[in-house]
C-alpha cells in the first residue's frame, strides 16, 4: 500500500461522526518514547539516527499491529506529500520540515494511528478518533505502546519515567487533546475568557495545527501540559471530566443564547457564509475555514438541511493546499488554487 492510497480518501477521524461531534471534531492521544542507549534526536549522529529508524521500522512491521503498515521516509519525499500528511494531522509541521537524518512516519491504512520517527523524540505514537472518543484513543495508543515495548527497549528511569528530549514531556510522555469547534463562543465574545480560564487550569489552547498556529475556522485544540506526577489514567480522567465538558457546555449555552436573543444575527452569519461559499468563483483557504465554520454551525442548528455535516468536515480537509492539488491532480499556483477551491466547494455543497 502506498501514500497515494491513504491520500485518496479522508481518514476515519474526519469522516466519522463520533459522540458529541457537533462540537468535538476529534480526539487525540499521543505518547513520546525514545530508544534506550541512544542520544536524543537533537544530539544523535547520522549513523545513530539511521539505526533508530531501521530498528523502529523493523519492529513496527514485525509487531503485526495491522495487516499492513504504510512507511513513509520523509527525506526525499515529495513536498506535496509531506504537506498532505501535515494537513491530515498525521505528522507535525516540524516533522515535515525536518532537515535531520532519517525522519519517517508509519501509518496504519485507516489512519487511526501513526508513529513519527525521529521528530523531537525517536518515536511519537498517536491515535486519532472522530468526536469525543478519548478513552478509545487512549486504550488504542496503549496497546500500540505495549506491543512495541515488547520489541524495543525504551529509555526509562524510575524517577523520571519515560525519558524525552524535552523535559516538558517527561514521565508519561502523554499528550491528550481534543479539537473543538467553538463558533458561538467567538460570536458572543466569550472565547477569550474561556481561553484564559483554560490556560489557568494548565491546559494548552492552540489552533488547528497545534503549536504556533492560529485558530482559523473557530477550531481550537485543547491539551494537557503536565505529564509527570500523575498516572496516564489520572491525566486522562482529569482532562476529560473537568475542563473539556465545561467548554463544550459553554459553547452549547452560547449557541442557545444566540438562537434565543439574536436569531437574526445568527441566521445572517450562517446564510451569508452559505451564499459566499455556493457562489464564489475564487476563494482563499483562511476565508474558507471561517465560512465553513458558520455553515457547520448552521447544519448543527438545523438551519441548513440540504447538506450533511460529513461533507463540511471533508471540505475542511480538501480545501487545504496539498489536498486541493492532489484532488485536482496537478500542482497549482495560488491563483489557480483559489479558483479550484471555489469550484470544489460549489460542487460539494450544491447537489446537482
Amino acid at each position: 500500500m502506498s501514500l497515494r492510497q491513504i491520500t485518496d480518501h479522508a481518514g476515519e477521524w474526519l469522516r466519522g461522526s463520533g459522540p458529541q461531534s457537533d462540537i468535538v471534531i476529534s480526539s487525540r492521544v499521543r505518547l513520546a518514547r525514545n530508544l534506550a542507549g541512544y542520544p536524543f534526536v537533537n544530539r544523535a549522529d547520522e549513523t545513530q539516527l539511521r539505526e533508530v529508524h531501521q530498528r523502529c521500522r523493523q519492529q513496527i512491521t514485525d509487531a503485526g499491529l495491522v495487516s499492513e503498515i504504510i512507511w513513509v521516509n520523509l527525506r526525499g519525499s515529495d513536498p506535496l506529500d509531506r504537506q498532505l500528511l501535515v494537513e491530515r494531522h498525521l505528522i507535525s509541521r516540524q516533522h515535515a520540515r525536518s532537515k535531520g537524518s532519517a525522519p519517517a512516519v508509519a501509518i496504519c491504512p485507516d489512519e487511526t494511528f501513526s508513529i513519527m520517527i525521529n521528530e523531537e523524540d525517536h518515536l511519537r505514537i498517536q491515535v486519532l478518533r472522530s468526536g469525543m472518543q478519548l478513552r478509545e484513543a487512549f486504550d488504542h495508543v496503549n496497546r500500540v505502546d505495549d506491543a512495541l515495548e515488547e520489541r524495543l527497549p525504551f529509555a526509562y528511569s524510575r524517577k523520571f519515567g519515560y525519558l524525552t528530549a524535552c523535559p516538558t514531556n517527561v514521565g508519561t510522555g502523554i499528550r491528550v487533546s481534543v479539537m473543538l469547534h467553538l463558533p458561538a463562543l467567538k460570536m458572543t465574545g466569550e472565547i477569550e475568557k474561556v481561553k484564559r480560564a483554560t490556560r489557568d487550569m494548565h491546559l494548552a489552547v492552540r489552533g488547528m495545527f497545534g503549536e504556533g498556529s492560529d485558530a482559523h475556522g473557530d477550531l481550537y485544540q485543547i491539551s494537557n501540559q503536565s505529564t509527570l506526577g500523575r498516572s496516564e489514567a489520572e491525566i486522562l480522567a482529569d482532562f476529560q471530566s473537568t475542563v473539556v465538558p465545561q467548554i463544550i457546555a459553554y459553547e452549547q449555552q452560547a449557541r442557545n443564547a444566540l438562537m434565543r436573543q439574536r436569531p437574526a444575527v445568527l441566521e445572517d452569519k450562517i446564510w451569508r457564509a452559505w451564499a459566499l461559499l455556493t457562489n464564489a468563483r475564487m476563494i482563499g483557504s483562511d476565508e474558507v475555514l471561517s465560512l465553513l465554520s458558520h455553515v457547520r454551525l448552521g447544519i448543527n442548528l438545523g438551519r441548513i438541511q440540504t447538506v450533511d455535516i460529513s461533507v463540511v468536515n471533508e471540505l475542511l480537509l480538501l480545501t487545504q493546499s496539498a489536498h486541493l492539488q492532489r484532488y485536482v491532480g496537478s500542482e497549482l499556483d495560488q491563483a489557480a488554487r483559489r479558483e479550484a477551491r471555489a469550484s470544489l466547494i460549489r460542487k460539494r455543497l450544491l447537489p446537482t
Binding site: 525514545n34 534506550a36 542507549g37 541512544y38 542520544p39 536524543f40 537533537n42 544530539r43 549522529d45 549513523t47 545513530q48 523531537e120 496503549n142 505495549d146 515495548e149 515488547e150 524495543l152 527497549p153 525504551f154 529509555a155 526509562y156 528511569s157 524510575r158 524517577k159 523520571f160 519515567g161 519515560y162 525519558l163 528530549a165 524535552c166 523535559p167 516538558t168 517527561v170 514521565g171 508519561t172 502523554i174 494548565h202 501540559q225 503536565s226 505529564t227 509527570l228 506526577g229 500523575r230 498516572s231 496516564e232 489520572e234
Partner: protein, 166 residues
C-alpha cells in the same frame, strides 16, 4: 571619571579607540547607540576587554577547569545549550543536570516531580543497562570517527550482546 555616551547623556559602555591614518579616533557610546552603530559585536568587545577581566580569565585558565557539573559527561551537552534549545541531549542528562532540572520540572508539571505512571514490562527498562548502552554507543561512535574500526566492531558486538541479554 564616568565617560558619557557621545550621543546622549547615558554612561558610555562601549569604547572604541582606533588609529586611522596616524590620527587617534575615539568613540564612546552607551549600549543603545553602540548597537545602532553596530559596535556591540563580540569582535568589538573582545578588542577592548577590561584589563581586570583579562587577568581573571588568565587565572581561570591557569588553575585548570574543575569538573564541570554543567556539561553532561555522556553527550557533552551544556546547561547553557539546554537553556537555549530547551532540549536535553541524552537520557543521562537527566542525571547530570538533576539539580538544575528539578525546579524547572516541578514548575512545568504543576509540582509533579516523580513518575507515577506505567513502566516498561521488560528489562529493557533496567537503568544500569541503559547507561552502559549509552556509554558504549558513544565510544563506538568515537571509534568510528577516529577510524579505529576494530574497536568499533568489538563494541558493536558487546552492544548486541547486552541488548540480546534482555
Amino acid at each position: 571619571m564616568k565617560r558619557k555616551c557621545d550621543k546622549c547623556d547615558n554612561p558610555a559602555k562601549v569604547h572604541s579607540i582606533e588609529i586611522i591614518k596616524g590620527a587617534k579616533v575615539e568613540v564612546h557610546l552607551c549600549d543603545e547607540h553602540a548597537a545602532e552603530a553596530g559596535l556591540d559585536s563580540p569582535e568589538a568587545a573582545v578588542q577592548h576587554t577590561p584589563v581586570d577581566e583579562l587577568i581573571s580569565n588568565f587565572v581561570k585558565l591557569q588553575s585548570g577547569e574543575k569538573k564541570d557539573r554543567h556539561v553532561c559527561a555522556n553527550c557533552g551537552m551544556s546547561w547553557a545549550t539546554f537553556q537555549e534549545s530547551r532540549l536535553l541531549g541524552c537520557p543521562e542528562c537527566y542525571d547530570h543536570f538533576d539539580a538544575q532540572l528539578t525546579p524547572l520540572i516541578e514548575r512545568a508539571h504543576e509540582g509533579g516531580s516523580h513518575h507515577m505512571g506505567k513502566a516498561p514490562h521488560h528489562a529493557g527498562g533496567d537503568e544500569q543497562r541503559q547507561r552502559q548502552l549509552l556509554r558504549m554507543r558513544k565510544r563506538m561512535s568515537e571509534a568510528v570517527d577516529g577510524e579505529d574500526y576494530e574497536l568499533a566492531a568489538h563494541l558493536r558486538d558487546e552492544i548486541t550482546k547486552l541488548e540480546e541479554g534482555a
